[in-house]
């Protein structure tokens, strides 16, 4: 647990970080970014909280089974979208031209249109869940492991 200043700043910064992460994830197919990058931004909020509040408090809110569940669901969404294209080929982008994210921009510079790219935005969400939960789980587990060690010394 760090000083009150650090904790207050962490409290203030976390919502901003999370919002930005969400933006990066959801706009991955139109502007630079994507599930991995946004997920990493999201997980950095967890790192901030871990540093500011210490693993003792954070691990009460971030349980490993729950995080595993989120990571699994993200991975399953991703591979499930791959399986969904199996009527044509595995990983076929079946939503291009469909009502879901189906707009097809003409070649060349385009205006920002969220409603494009078929399965890519959905895959971004799946990957983001996987990355967020995965990185957070790694950080929490490692923090707990190193605290136990300190107690034992």
């Amino acid at each position: 647990m760090m000083s009150k200043v650090v904790r207050s700043v962490a409290r203030l910064a976390t919502p901003a970080v999370l919002t930005f992460g969400l933006y990066v994830i959801m706009h991955g197919h139109v502007t630079s970014g994507g599930g991995f990058q946004g997920g990493a931004v999201f997980a950095s909020a967890a790192a901030l909280l871990l540093v500011a509040f210490g693993s003792e408090r954070v691990k009460e809110h971030m349980k490993i089974p729950a995080l595993t569940g989120i990571a699994v669901s993200g991975a399953v969404i991703f591979i499930g979208l791959g399986f969904a294209g199996l009527a044509t080929t595995f990983f076929y982008n079946l939503f291009v031209g469909s009502p879901v994210f189906g707009h097809v921009p003409p070649f060349g510079p385009a205006h920002e249109d969220i409603w494009t790219a078929g399965v890519i935005p959905l895959m971004n969400i799946g990957v983001a869940l996987n990355v967020v939960a995965g990185l957070t789980a790694i950080m929490v587990v490692m923090a707990i492991a190193s605290e136990n060690k300190r107690d034992g010394e």
Partner: protein, 117 residues
């Protein structure tokens, strides 16, 4: 001589890789070995992403783009993949170091790694 200037990014990659390899081989501390590997990894990522640069190219994103002369997108995707894989392997290596430290109380390769066979 002119190759050295035009290919300066590749030479920087080679230099960085040599630094990483030197650290990897010369250090005894397990954490420092991992640092060496991470530097080597950074060199490889730099190599991949520099392979995709096209003179005066812009980022390969069509949204509000100013032209269509773009750098190559595939190296960027490969670098992204390689960075994520790097995070995964680093986490794995550090975890095993934590466990070795729990057993031996050492992160020194010479003392903790028993030589057998």
């Amino acid at each position: 001589m002119s190759t050295i200037i035009t290919n300066a990014p590749f030479i920087a990659v080679a230099a960085l890789a040599c630094v990483g390899i030197y650290i990897m081989l010369s250090q005894r501390n397990l954490i420092k070995i991992v640092m060496g590997i991470t530097i080597f990894e950074a060199a490889v990522n730099l190599f991949l992403v520099s392979l995709g640069y096209r003179n005066d190219g812009i980022a390969p994103i069509f949204t509000n783009a100013t032209g269509i002369h773009m750098v190559l997108p595939v190296p960027q995707a490969m670098t992204l993949t390689s960075i994520v894989i790097g995070v995964a392997t680093t986490a794995m290596m550090l975890t095993l170091i934590v466990l070795i430290y729990r057993h031996t109380g050492e992160t020194d390769a010479k003392k903790s790694r028993r030589v057998k066979g």
